[in-house]
Subunit: 364 residues, 2 copies
């Protein structure tokens, strides 16, 4: 038996998460604000707020005195009440960040990994880094869990790494399970790009409905946020955006196909023609927009951010000229505000989101 039906527990969790989402975007707010935004009666909001104050995630913060009438109680999010740690595992380094309930990055550190590292080596290094975090910050009882973002393919639901290209020790590794054992905290494993887009979504709040995080960093990928939630796909393998063909007669890609976006892009980049590389990425982004009708595109990844302005301009220009002209079709393109922390931070926020975000119901 496997719960999919909605019950009162779900009801409560859903409405609490709704209030938390508002608290995160507003920081300080009143009962009436929540009531208006959610449609809950003021009375119901009082009850929800009381529960959240009891939990310690929000707190009363003075009163607002209106021109006339009784002063309104003001509440605020308590960012320091919960933390999560996120790790971004790439081929050569692991980046570890500490984020709080507001989605702010409190501490960030990078550490090299040995060539061809194995799971134990990674976890040892992470354990050291986490110890360091603990010495600098008092997280007693406030650490929600640990998120790990890395290249796929992997099985997010099972927490298993299926094995990336040129990583010998990473075939069918139950990483989440190992990590929970070693680190003693709940662990979520997800693709780097999906973690990244979660960071942007968590920080921007529920207004973000459909977005993609385009990442260029030893490969090209896209994390997808569709309909207000991550899109991982049937085998949690979505986002292999770099391996979409944009040039039928193009050069062969490592994946075997010809003219993959990644192959064409990297070809231009390696030839030193960053402008052409960015232009090609722009074509890919427009393809994504045509298919998915996104409202936000966030650019990220070490290789991209090294030439941030070039890419930003090229993608903006591609959208301006290649998407059919229409005033109602607005797309916002930005560079990630979290820089190279975005993947690790997103991995951390996935943990917070799992615990304090809007709950879903298991599929039938």
């Amino acid at each position: 038996m496997h719960r999919t039906a909605a019950d009162l527990t779900f009801l409560r969790g859903y409405n609490e998460a709704l209030v938390m989402a508002l608290a995160r975007t507003w920081r300080t707010f009143e009962r009436g604000d929540v009531s208006e935004a959610t449609g809950l009666t003021p009375q119901a909001v009082s009850k929800v707020l009381a529960r959240l104050v009891e939990e310690g995630v929000i707190a009363p913060a003075g009163v607002r005195r209106p021109a006339i009438g009784k002063p309104a109680g003001v509440y605020e999010l308590v960012p320091g009440s919960r933390y999560a740690i996120g790790a971004h595992v790439s081929r050569r380094t692991v980046r570890l960040v500490l984020t709080d309930l507001a989605g702010r990055v409190i501490q960030s550190a990078v550490s090299p990994l040995p060539p061809d590292f194995n799971p134990a080596q990674l976890l040892d290094r992470m354990a050291e880094m986490i110890t360091d975090v603990h010495t600098r910050h008092d997280l007693a009882g406030k650490l929600t869990g640990i998120g790990i973002g890395m290249i796929g393919p992997l099985d997010h639901a099972a927490g298993t790494v299926r094995g990336a290209h040129r990583m010998r020790h990473w075939h069918d590794v139950p990483l989440a399970e190992f990590a929970e054992e070693v680190l003693g905290l709940p662990v979520l494993v997800d693709k780097d790009v999906t973690a990244g887009v979660t960071a942007e979504a968590w920080r921007r709040g529920p207004a973000l409905r459909d977005a993609a995080l385009i990442m260029v960093e030893s490969g090209v990928g896209a994390g997808l946020w569709l309909g207000g939630a991550t899109h991982r796909g049937s085998h949690t393998n979505a986002g292999e955006f770099g391996h979409t063909v944009v040039a039928l007669d193009g050069p062969q890609c490592a994946c075997g196909r010809h003219g993959c976006l990644e192959a064409v892009h990297d070809g231009a980049a390696e030839a030193g023609d960053i402008h052409r590389a960015a232009e090609v990425l722009g074509v890919g982004v427009v393809n994504l927009l045509q298919t998915l009708d996104l409202a936000h595109v966030v650019l990220a990844g070490a290789d991209l951010l090294r030439h941030g302005k070039v890419y930003l301009d090229a993608v903006t220009e591609a959208i301006r000229t290649q998407v059919p002209r229409a005033d109602w079709l607005t797309v916002e393109v930005t560079l990630t505000s979290l820089g190279e922390d975005v993947i690790a931070a997103g991995a951390a926020m996935q943990v917070l989101d799992a615990r304090y975000g809007i709950p879903g119901l298991a599929p039938l």
Copy 2:
């Protein structure tokens, strides 16, 4: 004020819809089946079933006598308890179908439309066809509404057609509003491909989580079903799959870009090389799979179905050879089981889905 919070009404609607979804896939079932599948207690299921029987959408259907013990009450869906009408508006014809609560097509008819027809002409023709449906079937009080599937761009939420290429009378037409006035029933307007994928999803049941309906019919489009729901995008304009670039140096497309999938595909098709056209579509489908990680691809559209086997084979082959080999990455490719009715039928099922499907909550 605009309701986004969950309350008891939502709870009831959600659980009822869950039971309806099971009823639709199982047709006949017992209390225990529902209890096991949903996680609801048998008691709760009894209450839900009582409400649905009262509504007339399910009915008792005898008993099952177990080896020992009290006989279990058997229930069944009453397909004829609710109907919906769907219309597929193309450039030259309108196809109208009547579907029942089980998602079966009861009646189907096509009618030509005058060249460069306007909204009034369309609605007149639809009204005639709907009158004909009424003379053949007794739908008194059982007709839920009317769905219209047509080419975009359009605003699904507002029910407005923004104006398709080469259709002079269709700029910013509030079609849903007009139609509700003329036809006297609730009307939903959506893109043809999105309606189509709804038909497939509604018929297959909740097991279908991530799927695309690829449609080739005076253009190439893709209806997306992601995470168990339609994906329409921020401006309800998703699915312009035909206007994704697959050949950077390809021929110019009507949309202005170079090497769009549609341009390359149509070029091959017009040259009589259906195999090449299907091959190109296959590349596009693999692109979609790489990006979205879908489990099901359904092929549809008059132009495609004329050479159904050629396309089915080409797409299957493209997936077999171009998607990185992995036993866990399974994709099912089929031709639509509804043939040329799929769009109209899907439009009808969207109406049923809005009324009897799993309810969503409005975004914040």
